[in-house]
Amino acid sequence: MDDREIQLRRYKSILSKYLDDQSEQTLYKGQQFSRKMIEQKISPEEAVSLHVSAMESLYPDMPQEFKNSYAFLLEMMIGYGFAYREHQSLRSRQQQLETEIEIAANMQQTLLMGEMPTVESLDIGAVSKPAKKMNGDYYHFVQDENDCVSVAIADVIGKGIPAALCMSMIKYAMDSAPEQRMQPSAMLGNLNRVVEQNVDPNMFITMFYGLYDSFNHRFYYSGAGHEPGFFYNAENDDFGELYTKGLVLGVSKKPNYREYSKDLQKGDMIVLLSDGVTECRSSKGFIERDEIVAMIRSNLHLSAQEIVNTVYRELEKMQEFELRDDFTLLILRRKV
């Protein structure tokens, strides 16, 4: 006996029982049977054809009009059959794509994993989370042999795969910079050239680049249209804006990036963020920059890493655990 015959028998027995008793119980059996048919990928028109065969064998003397009407119904179901098969093939393609994205996301993670600097004078914390699987935010620390630390934070416009691909380009461009220790304005000028030549006209990248000199505890920095960070002055217990003026990367051929500097005293802090932090929307509206400052302020007693983790958790909670944009927060604090 082949599958179709077994199915037909089973279907016929349930159907004839139902025609006899019309009980809930038999109806339930029918439901279970239909679930099995779905599992076996039986198409809608095959299901109808099963019903027709069962009816023909139960009622051999069925009026001709009924038989004709079944033929008509079968014709009607063919379109549904096509839709069903298309749905099946889309589902398997979607699974394939998801697997591919998973692999890409892992690759990206590996690409981005860099060592955090360990400099005696600095306490450093970093958190970066993608809204979807791939991250369009980027941060990067480099420590040179003189214990100077450079830090970059970048945000690629948009989210998801295009942003992540673009970000990988930035990573390579930075790695191939002629020297590791580069003046921030020169670094941004270099990267702008790479981005300007290689991205879609609607794309751009915002970036903040800084260099911390461990000898004189001076922080040099430049910005390319990036969301301003904060500077915490420990002595006055006061947060100020770390303002930079400069055009985003990828728009103009020859932008000028001004360089700024700040002297850090013990306990002073540099806070860098992506606009995913201030573009967070909670149920009550946008989360304002003041609120971020307040969150950092109330956790000042913690280490830099604990502060960024705590702020991330609080913001995540305010957005009901659903990030709308990639999120990156970095803190550098002078220890000694």
Binding site: I157, G158, D200, F204, T206, V248, V251, P255, D275
Partner: protein
């Protein structure tokens, strides 16, 4: 949220009045309307943003694309009447120095 775009043309001046949000979902709609206008030489495109209450970086990207295209094709792009909240985005990104922006609400340019 969505975006409404109203277009008025007079000679070689094209006015697009936007209302709603310009974000990742609505940006393609704006791009479709705006880009072809910037591709004609000598035309002036004025985008009125008074009723745009939210814009994200994808929205900014549309204007960056339009700016590049208008420079390439010798057309003129102007943005007018944006709120100070939206203007802040143009300021932070430095785009206020390369795009012609007029008449910011709740503050001067």
């Amino acid at each position: 949220m969505n975006l409404q775009i109203k277009q008025e043309d007079q000679d070689n001046i094209h006015e697009l009045s936007l209302s709603g949000e310009v974000d990742a979902f609505t940006a393609p709609q704006l791009r479709e309307k705006l880009m072809p206008l910037t591709e004609k030489e000598g035309e002036t495109i004025v985008v009125k943003l008074a009723n745009v209450n939210y814009m994200d970086s994808t929205g900014l990207g549309v204007f960056v694309g339009a700016l590049k295209s208008s420079k390439q094709n010798n057309s003129t792009l102007k943005l007018t009447g944006m709120t100070s909240r939206v203007h802040r985005l143009f300021e932070i990104t430095g785009l206020d120095e390369v795009i012609d922006i007029e008449d910011v609400k709740g503050g001067s340019v």
